[in-house]
């Protein structure tokens, strides 16, 4: 393999580290407790038959080893802090440090969810202010911050639809979902007791209006639409879509995962959406944390408001804030307490750092970046849909597949170039998809390096497809055997197993 073209990364010595259990030995300690200041109690006596014998293989290590263990492991990860992370649909943007600082302020981080409202006014104010901001951003009438992630928001939203239609007289049976939709959409519909009906895209990668008209009927509760959709294409006939649904008594749900293309430029509430979720961990920059936590507020129109999960934050006559639990029509709670409050803090800090001008500029840069990549890579990679791109662009591996190089191989190879890959093989409507979402957080230099890398890989796929198929070549481990792992799953460490070579 030639490193000639690789400008962004170099190999460097990196620490190995076993599992923490393999570091453990009896008598090492990473803690010390203060002396007990009340009479000691023999827990074995107090608990009797319920007393525990021992804690098995729980580790025994010192603080120094803990620091090294996790620090070393962290160096095996790629992260936004290290470079572009163009995972389509994931909106991997800069996670501002000030957000982390304010979320850890003592009075916020140490607030008990059941402490009296009187001593929770700061937290309530944050939730209320965030809610107000999100309502103006979405153009909706009411909101809940309770859902813990996007899929959780979807569930909440579809429950709202169910409740609303039930109140109207009939919850109906089906939810329409475009073939380009994210897997959480159909999974959500199923949890809410709806059957899923697939809706085909047209040649432009948008909802086929004719098909929608044909499929829409009194059995259909609503449509779950992502806009811009997972091809990065804005559903230009959105208003017509809403009209078709509404005319037949259905409701329009919008998956707001792609709001980073819209904030400050257009509002779902204005173009006919009835209910939607936001991903604070995408559009509003709360960190992904290796898979979570997230936060998925759900905003809706007036008619759906009575059904929102309880409690909701309300302003009381005396000007103080409080929780309203008295909501008889509510679909119920979707999570204990009030949601992922720490993410609310961060999202509000993000909004304040941006202001209206910054939010608009952010959206513009996100769309600019995606279109720049599209322009530069069009031709090198096949662009299956020619419709205008918003914040992300989806190519296919058709050209490279002719040499046996698939989207998954290209993804592995770009790791050698110092990048995290794009989203692989999604959306399903594009065979061999390369789904690229740069976000606004990438500089022109970083984008050019990415484009150069992608072009170089296209050349490599021509000249040395085998090398690409065996990539990555620069990582600690390469091409882990996922099939074997799933066939005989080893999901936990067990004592007695020798430490494996190379670790």
């Amino acid at each position: 393999m030639s490193d000639q073209d690789i400008k962004k990364a170099t190999r460097h010595v990196n620490q190995n580290e076993p599992l923490i259990f393999e570091r453990s030995s009896p008598g090492k300690k990473g803690y010390r407790l203060p002396p007990l200041d009340v009479p000691d109690v023999d827990y074995k006596k107090a608990l009797g038959a319920c007393a525990r014998e021992d804690l098995g293989s729980m580790p025994e290590v010192s603080e120094m080893e803990i620091i090294r263990h996790f620090t070393r492991m962290s160096t095996w990860n790629y992260a936004i802090d290290l470079g572009m992370y163009p995972l389509g649909s994931c909106t991997m943007k800069y996670n501002a440090r000030v957000n982390e600082v304010v979320a850890r302020l003592y009075g916020l981080a140490e607030a008990h969810p059941y402490q009296q409202e009187r001593i929770s006014q700061g937290a309530l104010r944050i939730m209320k202010t965030l809610a107000d901001c999100l309502l103006d951003i979405t153009g909706m009438d009411a909101i809940t911050l309770q859902p813990a992630a996007g899929a959780h928001g979807e569930m909440t939203g579809i429950l709202l639809i169910h409740a609303c239609l039930s109140a109207r007289g009939n919850p109906r049976k089906k939810i329409l979902i475009p073939d380009s939709a994210h897997g959480t959409n159909p999974a959500t519909a199923a949890i809410c007791g709806y059957a899923v009906e697939n809706l085909k895209s047209n040649a432009h990668g948008m909802v086929d209006i004719g098909a929608l008209e044909a499929q829409m009927n009194e059995d259909v509760a609503g449509l779950m639409l992502t806009n811009p959709n997972t091809l990065g294409i804005f559903e230009q006939e959105i208003h017509k879509i809403a009209e078709i649904l509404h005319k037949k008594g259905g409701l329009l749900y919008m998956d707001g995962a792609n709001m980073n293309a819209l904030v400050g430029k257009t509002r779902p509430g204005d173009f006919g959406v009835d209910v939607m979720h936001l991903n604070l961990h995408k559009t509003f920059s709360t960190p992904h944390g290796g898979g979570g936590p997230g936060s998925g507020p759900v905003a809706c129109k007036k008619e759906l408001e009575p059904f929102l999960p309880k409690p909701i934050v309300v302003e009381k006559p005396d000007g103080t804030l409080g929780f309203d639990y008295d909501r008889p029509k509510s679909v119920g709670r979707v999570r204990m307490f009030y949601g992922n409050f720490g993410m609310h803090v961060r999202a509000l800090a993000y909004i304040m750092a941006n202001g209206p001008d910054g939010l608009r500029e952010t959206t513009e840069d996100a769309v600019l970046n995606a279109n720049y990549i599209r322009r530069k890579l069009d031709g090198e990679y096949e662009l299956p849909y020619k419709s205008a791109s918003m914040h992300e662009v989806v190519f296919s591996d058709r050209l490279q597949a002719q040499k046996g190089v698939k989207t998954g191989d290209i993804a592995k190879r770009i790791i050698d170039y110092g990048f995290h890959p794009y989203t692989v093989s999604f959306p399903l409507v594009v065979p061999g998809a390369l789904m690229i979402e740069p976000t606004e957080s990438e500089s022109l230099e970083e984008l050019d390096l990415f484009i150069d890398a992608m072009k170089a890989i296209a050349r490599e796929a021509e000249g040395d497809p085998e090398m690409v198929r065996n990539s990555p070549h620069t990582t600690r481990v390469s091409r882990l055997d996922e099939t074997a792992a799933a066939r005989k799953p080893v999901l936990r460490w067990r004592p007695g197993k020798a430490q494996s070579a190379g670790e």
């Binding site: 300690k29 009340v38 009479p39 827990y43 319920c50 021992d54 962290s74 990860n77 992260a79 936004i80 996670n95 501002a96 850890r104 009075g107 140490e110 059941y114 402490q115 006014q121 700061g122 901001c133 813990a148 992630a149 996007g150 899929a151 959780h152 979807e154 429950l159 169910h162 999974a187 007791g193 959105i238 257009t266 509002r267 992904h288 944390g289 290796g290 898979g291 679909v331 119920g332 999570r335 204990m336 307490f337 409050f341 993410m343 800090a349 304040m352 202001g355 001008d357 910054g358 608009r360 600019l368 957080s441 022109l444 882990l480 055997d481 074997a484 936990r492 070579a501 190379g502 670790e503």
Partner: protein, 441 residues
């Protein structure tokens, strides 16, 4: 905007390359009538110092430095500083889900360790990578039991956290899984006689919490025996994870759903926390959420990968075990670090201190009111019944910068002036004595 890495010249150059005159050309796909032509109504762009000032003022408008006697599903424990120090490394907190194992071994190995420790603590054979929290985890446990057994009903103890039960009701409302609730006895434990009657041929599972909402440790072997005898599974929800330091793990259960907040996660006004589901190996294909498994790379080196993803929504779509996608990975990592810091001996020692603190407080408060549910073992929570309205007592405590127990009337009207108190290692004897004095007043 200071987060955006573009100069005006960069933007111009890019537009030129794309072949656009202005940025608005790129928004042409949005029909003109829906384009927003005004500024959003959000606060103006602020300096970092202003943002900090704003949130500091909010933090000051919240309690800080109060003695906390509240538990009830969210526990005030000391958080070793290494936790924040380590998870604040960008490589952990600014990474995505570890879809590319070559550059995500840090996250993957941490989760594999999390899964292992959860198994060790709960006595289960497999654990997943996390759920949103304990309440949603409990709901998912119940649905999982229905999938496993093919039965479509459940019995839930009334001593399961009331908000967990609300969440369960929400989750199952369109799943035709009728849920009945089972009461408790004088000693705070589940009413076994009633339970026996409530379990039918259609009962997929019995869901209990232990220590339960009153702080009472349930007799899990007995409940398991009963459930299993009737062909139902036993799902155990654990809200106070630290109890496992000294309380026998629910090895007889089929599914354990645990909230890990006690393990180094800030109270944070209720979130983010992290739930986790653990179960027997034979049920692994019905577990929701992500799983990390061991794998070998092309050179035979050990590594870790996301595995068994055919259970999940991105593969299975409407047939998935759950719609969960984003989970609580970073919080699970916090819990992993916490469990590592205290470890085998520390969790026991710490849990034992908790028990001693609560025992002391109960004996002192017992002089001012009646301690309910005396007949069964407790961990760090207990219920006090007073003559005076606990809301009134709490008002008085508040004046002295103390947050009293959780009044139970809202969820258990039959208990009258009862409140659920919690003591952890954070409550000094001095605090407890002061609280007792204030209650007595």
């Amino acid at each position: 905007m200071r987060y955006l890495p573009k100069s005006p010249a960069d933007r111009q150059r890019m537009l030129r390359e794309i072949g656009c005159k202005s940025i608005d050309d790129l928004f042409a796909p949005i029909p003109a009538e829906y384009r927003l032509t005004r500024d959003l109504k959000v606060p103006r762009q602020m300096a970092e110092s202003e943002i900090i000032d704003y949130f500091r003022r909010c933090a000051e408008a919240n309690a800080a430095g109060y003695a906390v006697f509240l538990g009830a599903g969210a526990y005030h424990h000391y958080r070793p500083v290494v936790i924040d120090s380590l998870i604040s490394r960008g490589e952990f907190f600014t990474a995505y889900t570890p879809y590319q194992p070559e550059i995500a071994q840090g996250t993957l190995q941490a989760i594999f360790e999390f899964q292992t420790m959860i198994c060790e603590l709960t006595g289960m054979e497999v654990a997943n990578a996390s759920m949103y929290d304990g309440s949603t985890g409990a709901a998912e446990a119940l649905l999982m039991a229905a999938r496993i057994t093919g039965r479509r009903a459940a019995v839930v103890a009334r001593t399961v956290h009331p908000e967990y039960r609300e969440v369960i009701r929400t989750y199952i409302q369109h799943q035709s899984v009728p849920v009945s609730e089972c009461g408790y006895l004088e000693n705070g434990r589940i009413d076994m006689a009633s339970l026996e009657k409530q379990i039918t041929d259609e009962t997929a599972c019995v869901l209990i919490q232990s220590p339960n909402f009153f702080g009472t440790v349930e007799d899990i072997p007995a409940i398991a025996e009963l459930a299993h005898r009737k062909g139902a599974l036993l799902a155990v929800s654990i809200a106070e994870a630290l109890s496992l330091g000294i309380v026998k793990p629910p090895v007889e259960a089929d599914i354990v759903s645990m909230e890990t907040q006690s393990f180094g996660v800030p109270l944070g006004f209720g979130g983010p926390y992290a739930g986790v589901l653990a179960t027997k190996e034979k049920f692994v294909r019905q577990i929701p959420g992500r799983l990390v498994g061991e794998a070998r790379d092309k050179n035979g080196k050990r590594g870790f990968v996301l595995t068994l993803s055919t259970r999940e929504q991105h593969i299975r779509r409407e047939k998935a075990t759950s719609n969960i996608c984003t989970n609580q990975a970073l919080i699970a990592t916090m819990a992993t670090i916490y469990m590592t810091v205290y470890g085998r001996e520390g969790l026991k020692e710490l849990a034992s201190q908790n028990l001693a603190k609560a025992a002391y407080a109960a004996s002192e408060l017992g002089k001012q009111g009646r301690i309910l549910f005396q007949g069964a073992p407790r961990f760090n929570e207990f219920v006090v019944q007073t003559k005076e309205d606990p809301y009134q007592i709490n008002e008085r405590l508040l004046q002295k910068k103390m947050i009293g127990g959780f009044p139970l009337r809202k969820f258990y009207p039959e208990l009258g002036n009862a409140a659920l108190w919690c003591c952890t290692e954070m409550n000094t004897r001095e605090q407890i004595d002061a609280a007792v004095k204030a209650v007595a007043q």
